[in-house]
Symmetry: C2
Subunit: 284 residues, 2 copies
């Protein structure tokens, strides 16, 4: 496990970064934070989520950190590495929580100093609200955590990254290549957000509030969406996402045609398959 | 409000019929039930959800009932009326919980005896499990209840039907025509089930259990689906459902093309609209 003398720096103190900070501070680590907004720092200090915090890139905080977790939008993260990587402590381990990988991981590993290692990770947890004020370390319990190594990563860094997931309380720690990650995330996360948004925008739903049941509420919970973050994630994973959208559209059209053509038995067969597969996803 | 000397008969003691029975018995009404399975009757008696129950059409139970709630599949309900309507008490009020209306309400009103009135209703509540053993009157709290009258209905029957919804604890009682109901239900309920099933069946998702987050779980909760009931409901509401599926598909394709063509600003605009509309659907 990660030694308690390791100093951890969180860069980007929003919902996820804040939840990391809460959890790791509770577990006895020395956690500092750098984030743009002073009010986020003030909140985190008042909640005793961090030992110290800065609304600018504090050289000492970066230089003393053994593990640095980046919880930033992908392009901001990439630029940060360019601008400030000279401040990293030799031997530091860098990790992240970014929702896309292929377009980012190789690029960052290529430009990173040789004496610092970047090991990518994706905690599959979130809420439909944002900001450090909504952070909650319980969102990790029962959730999945994916480590996304490349050929450049050492066993040492991969182990630290996995141990971090265990420390945070994730239920399942898995490993995927950047390409596998992006295909999977295109399906389970990005496609589902595209569906939820389409459901909300495809007709004027306001009058439906009085009639709707839980099905519609469930399918649109994630339709409350941070447009800056998600549009960036979609564009950066465009090829994988479009492929998954097309797979879904084809299946949806097939089910439409079964209904249209009174093909009751094939439709029931789809429903039986759906029921069987969905059973695997029930939380224990 | 409905007088406590009114005798209520539930025909079809499954999840919804059972939840009606639980609720109305708790509220002091004399509730009986007719359902095919003796074990459902035994369960309901052991839970004190009903005063008496029969696994066959008991003439006395039908003949003494002032209000009869049908919780059957649409075609079974229609056939039941043909076979047994001679048993109804003169002046009895018949209502239902059926998920489709245009194809059913006019037909039943046309063939029903003149001294008995059918007023249709749709409680927008359910669970992804079935049977009286899973019945729970709390599913109605905070939910919507829709009364679906035609020109043939009297104010008296409409009031009784609304009062029943209030008694059961529904939060909002609305009125829609059969056609309005079917268009609405095609969108909020049937379309969402088609989407959930398509998501589960469009690729072999079994390996995804280790990676998925809550988004995918939310969008597929209703993918556990009773294939006999839902295929019947889909086919009976085919025109309205196909229309809603096409509206959704068109919007989904538009969002796909925005991603494909890097149209970030229009995509963000969709997300902002989605976020604004979804806020209306948050439960208080």
């Amino acid at each position: 496990m990660i030694n308690h003398d390791k100093k951890i720096l969180i860069v980007g103190l929003g919902l996820i970064g804040g939840s990391y900070a809460r959890s790791l501070t509770k577990k006895g680590f020395y956690v500092t934070a750098i984030t743009r907004s002073q009010s986020s720092i003030d909140y985190a200090l008042s909640e005793r989520m961090i030992a110290k915090g800065y609304s600018y890139v504090n050289e000492e905080a970066v230089g003393e950190a053994d593990i640095i977790v980046f919880s930033l939008y992908p392009k901001v993260f990439s630029k940060w590495i360019e601008d400030y990587q000279h401040l990293f402590k030799p031997g530091a381990i860098i990790t992240d929580v970014t929702g896309v990988k292929s377009c980012l991981v190789y690029e960052i590993q290529d430009k990173l100093r040789d004496d610092v290692e970047f090991i990518a990770a994706h905690p599959m947890a979130g809420r439909e609200v944002y900001g450090v004020q909504n952070s909650d370390d319980r969102i990790f319990y029962g959730a999945n955590y994916i480590v996304v190594p490349t050929d450049k990563n050492t066993d040492h860094a991969i182990k630290i990254c996995k141990d971090l997931g265990i420390l945070l309380g994730f239920e399942r720690i898995s490993t995927l290549s950047p390409e596998e990650h992006d295909e999977m995330i295109g399906f389970v996360s990005q496609l589902t957000h595209c569906i939820a948004v389409s459901l909300m925008t495809c007709c004027d739903n306001e009058h439906l509030v009085a009639y709707t049941g839980d099905s519609f509420r469930d399918l649109t919970r994630i339709a409350r969406i941070n447009e800056d973050m998600w549009s960036e994630l979609f564009m950066l994973n465009k090829d994988a996402l479009i492929e998954q959208m097309d797979v879904f559209s084809k299946e949806f059209a097939a089910i439409r045609d079964m209904i249209k053509n009174d093909e009751t038995e094939p439709l029931k067969e789809k429903m039986r398959l759906s029921t069987k597969r969905r059973a695997l996803f029930d939380k224990k």
